[in-house]
């Protein structure tokens, strides 16, 4: 029975991510267009809002091309290996008082650990494509994602130290307003390292279209490519919502059902900021990326964690 419920929640999470990706892609196209003094999509639906509804069937019906030299089983299922962990991570996000789709005791750890599995999927796809550019992209992605796990986990840890629990629902119950200023530096570190985790600009060197075409998914087309795309937007949605819950109070910002609305609104604002940053900053170099991670973000996260520890001990 619980297995069936799990299936249901899985389907629901995929739907949320797919729907969010559809809205997110449209919104990103609008945001990027306005930053570049363009109009963006405008033909299909009001302000082009149904553009993705038209694009998704197009992607579905495109030819499923598998390169002749590719390692076929890995090539076929690598997109799922990238997408599934990200979809799973949505399960532990607390949406309302005492409720998350999967109310795990070690939920925060789950959220930080499970999406890391998608590194394997990326390596699968990079290797299975049998393509130099894909391989370079995959190796870059692995190095980048493994590195940025560290500051990201440390920054979330500062909130967990304040709450004294790994269970996200319990963190939300314990949340108090002054945590926002107290963990603000950690929040910035969390945001930046999340962007790097999802391989988005300015940290998109694994994709780096001007050097690597599209990096690890250069050889993918049609629905398989779309799954990668959904993974990216799914990661964005998950990171935004989890950040909004942990660092910005989530549904606790407003009382009752309005809290859920506020939670989703804050998540949307965070997504917009992530897009804003992508369309503002130029892409980093590999060495700059690593230097930034280990010499700036990680020390700052450690300092934040130390500060949170002091506050927790003092209380």
């Amino acid at each position: 029975m619980s297995f069936l419920w799990g299936m249901l929640w899985g389907v629901a999470a995929v739907m949320v991510i797919a729907g969010g990706a559809i809205v997110g892609v449209w919104w990103e196209r609008k945001v990027s267009a306005r930053i570049q003094l363009r109009l963006g999509p405008q033909q299909i639906g009001p302000a082009g809002s149904l553009q993705m509804v038209a694009d998704v069937p197009k992607l579905l019906f495109k030819e499923d091309i598998i390169p002749a030299a590719a390692d076929e089983p890995f090539f076929r299922y690598a997109p799922l290996a990238v997408f599934a962990p990200i979809a799973m991570s949505v399960a532990v996000i607390p949406f309302a008082t005492g409720w998350a789709p999967f109310d795990a005791t070690a939920g925060a750890l789950f959220f930080l650990a499970v999406p890391s599995i998608s590194v394997l999927g990326i390596l699968f796809s990079a290797w299975a494509s049998h393509n130099t550019l894909s391989a370079i992209g995959g190796v870059r992605a692995a190095a980048q994602m493994v590195s940025y796990e560290v500051p990201r986990s440390l920054s979330v840890l500062s909130v967990l130290v304040l709450a004294g629990t790994l269970r996200p629902v319990a963190v939300m119950d314990a949340w108090e307003w002054w945590w926002i200023p107290a963990t603000f530096v950690g929040f910035i570190v969390y945001l930046i390292s999340s962007i790097a985790e999802m391989n988005r600009g300015p940290f998109d060197i694994p994709e780096a279209e001007s050097e690597l075409v599209a990096g690890y998914f250069a050889d993918y087309a049609g629905i398989r490519w779309a799954v990668f795309m959904m993974g990216e937007y799914g990661g964005m949605i998950a990171a935004s919502l989890f950040g909004a819950a942990m660092f910005l109070g989530g549904f606790r910002l407003l009382p009752g059902a309005w809290g859920v609305v506020a939670f989703i609104a804050v998540g949307a604002v965070l997504m917009t900021i992530i897009m804003w940053m992508k369309w503002t900053f130029p892409r980093l170099r590999q060495d700059q990326l690593m230097t930034f991670c280990w010499t700036i973000l990680t020390p700052i996260a450690i300092v934040q964690l130390f500060a949170a520890g002091v506050i927790a001990a003092w209380l």
């Binding site: 306005r34 003094l37 369309w279 503002t280």
Partner: protein
């Protein structure tokens, strides 16, 4: 000059490295925030791109998808223009409205299917070609000699090099047909019991007679002269039209069932009123018999003659009384040139031709006056006659004055003259300035109305006269004109008679012949045109020799010449590619390759290749395609599995234009070329 990098000026505000420590960190953070601020403010500004139009865009026929061929030589036959005489106009009109009417057919007054003729000749079906032409042009052999061929002026080949020699193909078809005429001519069945009488055996009367006989009527034709043919017999010089051609074709008509009664002058030997009683309809195709003579002083003197009288004497007697005398022709039309050239042949020592118009404006056909001048005729242009000078009632000369302009600003005939006169010495003056009808004895005893100016009262559109059941056609209706124009009026009159005898309204539902206007072509620079693209040329007899007797001036085409000439036909508007190669020549990218074979009976487009990797979709090829076979499709989103597949071969070019699809793996096979005919009796 070498540049010392270290001494290049660097602005103080620009740095590629941040200071170490907290200060550098703060600088970096500040730059990041500044960047975010810049993009944020940019997003609030008005976008500079264009807003799309609100209306949805639909696919227009004029958009240019990949090309295709509607049909191809060797696979698709072209439709021959053929219909019963009373429905022919509707057929032509339908073709015209659908842009399927070839310019030669459209510009011919009788709408002869010259395109079909060339198709059949090139295919080796020459007697069929003759019979196709005869449906509309009852005397193909005659018109093949004398026609002024408006078809050739409209021929679309004028755009590329030179027009098809349609007239010479008529003549060639006639000459070939003569060999098989006896076995191919069968009397037309008389399926109706009504009778029609036709007065006059000129081209219009003969055309009407043929139409009416093919509809099943019994036709009787009356001719005043001993030989039939009307003006063709009495007026056209025999160096242009050998009489055996004319009489041979009329004999064919008699063999088809025409009751021809020569030396029977209506109004004298038999009265028109009795003919009207005996027949259900009467058609007056009497033509124009009287020459007009200018009312000038001295025209009563001996030596002043009319053009028709002169030509009649020269043609029928071989002597017009001008042997050893000087002659002056007044007039600049084709008849005037005929008179001048005949005069040379019957022994005139000096022939002058004077006309009001300048040499550029002369109403005769340019090739006519050119041949006449070659033979020794002296053309005196821009001269107006004043007075005939005579001594003892015998012409001695003509006083002329210069003509400054012939037409006024509105284009009406209103000549203006200069002052200083000039006397031309001559023994004979021939007026070739126009003709009039002679109707007095013809209409006596009937109710036919003749206008004050001596013209028959007649409706020009359907040929009805003031008496029901009596119709008129030919030059008596239209005034002086060309033979093919008279033939056209004969068809109209026959249609009127058929409607009348069937008891239908003459006008209701009747479709007038469309009069398409075709573009005028400037002469093409032939310098770079290959010799085998040029039109067939026939030899003209040596001017000095030919001017002494009535031998034919022009020779006909040989069979090889005629087949090659017919194969030049572009089959305009047929929607069947003939492999004319003009698309390949037009293509700016050299993307098209066309080849064809011209074996009679197996003519075929062997290769048509369009290289889409080179095609720029400019559409020039389709725009100039004379047949309309090459067209753009609505297939805008072609995609290919391999670059080699982007060359469309003939089979791919002939694909259906429905839908848009991936090509290259469609498995369309090229149609196979037909094998040459080798059966007995068929010319290969």
């Amino acid at each position: 000059m070498a540049v010392d990098e270290n001494r290049l000026p660097v602005p103080e505000t620009v740095s590629d490295e941040y200071a170490p420590g907290v200060k550098g960190f703060m600088q970096g953070a500040r730059s990041l925030l500044t960047g975010l601020g810049i993009t944020a403010s940019a997003s609030t500004r008005k976008p500079i791109t264009v807003r799309y139009p609100q209306e949805k865009v639909t696919v227009s026929d004029r958009w240019r998808g990949a090309l295709q061929l509607k049909g191809a030589l060797g696979r698709d036959e072209i439709d021959l223009v053929s219909a019963p005489p009373h429905e022919y106009n509707a057929k032509i009109d339908g073709l015209y409205r659908n842009d399927r009417l070839s310019p030669c057919t459209g510009s011919c007054p009788a709408n002869v299917d010259a395109r079909g003729q060339a198709f059949l000749i090139a295919d080796g079906r020459i007697p069929e070609a003759y019979e196709l032409v005869r449906e509309r042009n009852i005397l193909p052999g005659v018109l093949g000699r004398i026609c002024h061929h408006p078809c050739e002026s409209a021929c679309r080949r004028n755009r590329y090099d030179e027009p098809i020699s349609i007239r010479l193909l008529h003549r060639f078809a006639y000459e070939e047909y003569r060999k098989v005429a006896a076995e191919r001519i069968k009397p037309l069945p008389k399926t109706r019991d009504q009778r029609v009488a036709i007065i006059g055996s000129g081209p219009s009367g003969l055309a009407a007679a043929y139409d009416l006989m093919s509809l099943g009527y019994t036709v009787t034709m009356y001719e005043r002269e001993a030989q039939p043919g009307g003006a063709l017999s009495t007026g056209v010089p025999s160096y242009r039209l050998p009489r055996d051609v004319l009489y041979g074709e009329i004999a064919d008509l008699v063999a088809l069932g025409l009751d021809l009664r020569c030396e029977t002058e209506v109004g004298k030997d038999v009265m028109l009123s009795s003919i009207m009683r005996e027949n259900d309809a009467v058609l007056l195709a009497v033509g124009l018999q009287d020459s007009r003579i200018l009312p000038l002083p001295g025209t009563h003197a001996d030596g002043v003659v009319g053009a028709l009288e002169f030509l009649w004497a020269a043609n029928n007697l071989g002597d017009a009384g001008v042997k050893g005398r000087r002659l002056l022709v007044i007039g600049g039309g084709n008849v005037a040139v005929d008179v001048a050239r005949c005069a040379l042949r019957v022994g005139a020592t000096e022939v002058r031709l004077s006309c009001l118009e300048s040499d550029q404006e002369m109403p005769c056909h340019p090739w006519e006056i050119e041949e006449a001048v070659d033979e020794g005729v002296i053309a005196m242009c821009s001269m107006g006659p004043v007075e005939v000078l005579s001594e003892d009632n015998q012409v001695t000369g003509m006083r002329m004055k210069p003509c400054l302009s012939v037409f006024d600003e509105t284009g009406r005939f209103s000549p203006t003259y200069g002052e200083d006169t000039q006397d031309i010495e001559t023994d004979v003056v021939v007026f070739a300035i126009g003709q009039a009808a002679r109707l007095d004895s013809l209409v006596s005893g009937t109710d036919l109305l003749v206008s004050g100016r001596g013209q028959l009262v007649v409706d020009g559109a359907d040929g009805t006269t003031s008496v029901p059941g009596v119709f008129a056609c030919g030059e008596v209706v239209t005034g002086p004109g060309s033979a093919i124009n008279s033939v056209a009026t004969g068809h109209e009159a026959a249609t009127s008679i058929h409607r009348q005898l069937e008891g239908r309204s003459l006008t209701e539902g009747r479709i007038a012949r469309p009069v398409p206007v075709y573009e005028k072509y400037a002469p093409v620079d032939m310098e770079y045109v290959e010799p085998d693209r040029r039109r067939a040329v026939v030899t003209l007899a040596d001017p000095d020799e030919r001017a002494t007797d009535f031998r034919p001036v022009e020779s006909g085409l040989t069979k090889e010449q005629a087949m090659a000439e017919a194969a030049r036909c572009l089959r305009c508007e047929s929607e069947v590619c003939v492999g004319c190669t003009f698309c390949a020549r037009t293509c700016p990218d050299f993307a098209i390759k066309v080849e064809r074979t011209d074996q009679p009976g197996a003519r075929c487009l062997t290769t048509y290749e369009l290289d889409l990797t080179k095609c720029c979709f400019c559409g020039l090829c389709a725009e100039q395609c004379p047949t309309g076979a090459l067209q753009h499709t609505g297939q805008y989103e072609l995609s290919f599995y391999h670059r080699d597949l982007m060359t469309f071969d003939k089979g791919e070019m002939l694909r259906s234009d429905q839908g848009s699809r991936a090509t290259g793996l469609d498995g369309i096979t090229s149609p196979v070329c037909p094998a040459p005919r080798t059966g007995p009796g068929e010319r290969p």
